[in-house]
Symmetry: D2
Subunit: 132 residues, 4 copies
């Protein structure tokens, strides 16, 4: 599991006084960097090898500005050409939001999905995480 600490930004709040729900998708995408690096080690976007099939977020408790958030990222499923990333946002010792992202190994030139290699599956499997 990968962990990253971020500071919520003032502009990420909304008129209800807490972090807006849409922000979680940006935090989670940012925290997928270690996963992206398994496919594009230097994160060069011209050498990208993944596309996103779906995302979901469950909101369990409010998140607030002014206190750090720990983002936890791991792999919850590995398929033949795709895999699922499981992510959590923790604040004050509580899992406040949990989400998934299904990523597909993709050939941007041939414009089609591509089988995950045995090495890629093994690399992903080193970071397994279960839903809370």
């Amino acid at each position: 599991m990968f962990k990253e600490i971020i500071q919520p930004r003032f502009n990420e709040t909304d008129a209800l006084g807490h972090i807006n729900n849409t922000v979680l998708t940006m935090w989670f995408e940012g925290a997928r960097d270690p996963i992206f690096k398994l496919f594009t080690p230097d994160l060069d976007t011209k050498q990208w090898r993944l596309i996103l099939a779906s995302i979901s977020v469950q909101f369990k408790a409010e998140l607030f500005y002014g206190r750090p958030v720990e983002l936890r990222t791991g792999i919850s499923k590995v398929g033949n050409s795709s895999f699922e990333v499981l992510q959590q946002a923790w604040q004050n010792g509580q899992c406040c939001a949990e989400g998934t992202a299904v990523l597909v190994h993709y050939d941007f030139i041939a414009k089609q999905k591509k089988l995950l290699s045995a090495e890629q599956k093994a690399a992903l499997s080193q970071h397994l995480l279960s839903a809370s």
Copy 2:
């Protein structure tokens, strides 16, 4: 079903050259205004009556800057105190992304969920939409 036409903004693209996935959650939240108005007709955020339990988005095709997008919004499920909104983003005659949002009728003072009234259920049921 509610329809709204928007113009994707330059800043909503990403380095892969298309609209970034996280943008869909902002477009869809914006397009839920007609649903929010069923609960707070003037959209006064101090009189808010809904919280968000979960969101999901499925990405079916790339969305691009420079061409209008039609956002379609309807209700896919009505429960006792919550309901599911189904939303689609269409560009060039194609449904490029489809998402759901589960909203809970909520009492912000008592800090607990609240049953939907018969009138609210009837109002929501006038905007039913099925997944594509």
Copy 3:
């Protein structure tokens, strides 16, 4: 002068209850599309011909969610290889924010600025706007 009407989105508010200041830069960039089209008519980002040298925004009054905003865009200065765009956000009959963006005509292959042609200067000069 170009005019565009937008609906502020719920996620564009912040914890102070109004539209967050950073949102203006996104609205204004979105509203520069007609200017961008003078250089790249189909808005193809692979044929881009402008870079941004600076932006500024003055905040004159609060902007709120739930009411339409009219964005006004014009040209305030035309130089040899750059020009200044002047933009305003109006709500309820009031100019609530005003901003400028200095754009430079740029050759992305040679990686250097490029003189504006007489035709480009003339096209820009058809949309002059003065600060309020």
Copy 4:
């Protein structure tokens, strides 16, 4: 001067392959937290004491995803009821963007600006920074 290291997020890029200009205003607002704390130590947005009069950003070099950014924040001017914050974004040893924000000491109940106290002026003056 305050320093903060952030990781650019994938969604902060745009179709030109670099960090979109509007993102700088969000990074800089986030990096103003230490300044906000001089007025609201716990960052409780219900006890806010500042409004924003203007922002500006000068873009000096491209910023990229995949490499850390150092945000530097200091005070460039102290007036009677307002002050100017100067901020820079450094990547690979280069100042890539520099911006200012003019903040006004504000009484949200009386809805009017308020003189800075001698203590507040002294606190601000401990963090002076000059433009590059």
